[in-house]
Subunit: 236 residues, 2 copies
């Protein structure tokens, strides 16, 4: 991809042979460095100054390629959704397609939690997102929904998937950085909640610690897709 023959990238005049000057900035190189920085040190490490240092440039140089820090974030958002969608093929049933895509979105968010937490609510409205939308809506139309119902279900599924994935990413980032064992603290304190004041809570507390995040996500998707299937049969 980078050596696409009709790539418009201007080849610096000084690079006659040997490796090109490694400090040549491009949008792609800047996004690579930003992603690496996020991965290494978490969401608040992404600053223009740190980024400039990693790139071997002045911290203001990247502003020639992006309108500002926010613009970098938008570029990263498109990468995240692209990672979730690219290469995905519809499954044998509409249900497999929907569940599969939801899992891919979640996996991409958990693979880059520091990124997901920064950009999950920033829809990119670009290519990768449209491809994902087209896949989901195609599966719903395939299942038999009329356009209006397909649109409603699409938004329900996408909202729940994205919201839950970014929510999980947020606590993954917290666990890693600020909070010591947030997840464990959560379990401990729920177990310690006063049984007199919160009797229902106390009676199921041991089970709250049980299921892990993967199971919970699968469970929510199962509930949702069951409901969708029921609506399909019941003359929705």
């Amino acid at each position: 991809m980078t050596d696409d023959p009709d790539s418009p990238a201007p080849r610096p005049a000084g690079a006659r042979r040997g490796r090109p000057p490694s400090n040549a900035l491009t949008r792609e190189r800047i996004l690579d460095a930003a992603l690496a920085l996020l991965e290494r040190e978490g969401p608040e490490a992404l600053t223009l100054r740190r980024l400039g240092a990693d790139l071997g440039s002045n911290h203001t140089a990247v502003l020639r390629y992006f309108a500002g820090k926010d613009d970098i974030l938008l570029g990263l958002a498109e990468r995240l959704i692209a990672e979730a969608v690219e290469g995905f093929e519809p499954g044998p049933t509409w249900r497999a397609t929907l569940a599969g895509l939801a899992r891919r979105v979640r996996r991409a968010c958990l693979a880059h939690p520091a990124l997901a937490v920064l950009v999950a609510s920033r829809v990119s409205r670009r290519d990768a997102e449209f491809r994902g939308a087209d896949l989901v809506i195609g599966a719903l139309l395939d299942a038999g929904f009329a356009p209006r119902e397909a649109a409603r279900h699409y938004r329900a599924l996408v909202d729940v998937t994205l919201a839950m994935s970014s929510f999980e990413a947020a606590s993954a980032v917290l666990d890693g950085a600020d909070r010591e064992g947030d997840r464990m603290a959560w379990r401990r304190e729920y177990l310690a909640a006063s049984p007199r004041r919160f009797p229902h809570l106390a009676s199921v507390a041991p089970h709250l610690a049980g299921a892990d995040e993967d199971d919970q996500f699968e469970f929510v998707m199962e509930l949702l897709l069951n409901a969708v299937e029921t609506r399909l049969g019941g003359g929705a």
Copy 2:
């Protein structure tokens, strides 16, 4: 509540009559000011310096009452969940209870989007949260679920409700501040997506702009609670 007779709040010695020195800092007064600041100017306006100015104090004075900015956020998080839960009474059916509480959580988040966006993933693990958990779990046990299933369903409902509410809050904040008409831009660009490349998307695009956020939330909750009800009947 504030004039609880056995309140441990130290009454400043100098306050003999007339109004007490209005600059006396307390945790409550600091949280009030922080909330007002968030409401007025959005999430990034909450800085210790701005807060100090609003309180008529040096910006470092609040650090005598909170361990740091993060500690203030945690205090605000507890207020948010308290607002959602306080005064809530279980409905006539378990389903009404669950839907009602979900709506209250969402409404609190949308009433304070700048706050919700900062703290939604920071569970407070304190009183108000336990009360909410107890209500939801109580409704599920009431419905007939065994403890283990009640715990699974509780987490599914709470995760979806919180995640969607904070997700919506995030875009409400964006709409208000950074992005011009983000919601409208979304509709416009989805309508403009290439029908050749994204045929399914194009065929339902007019309907995507239709349903508003309130309807979508109700729809998701309906799907979820339908699925829960089905599990109950089907020998889950």
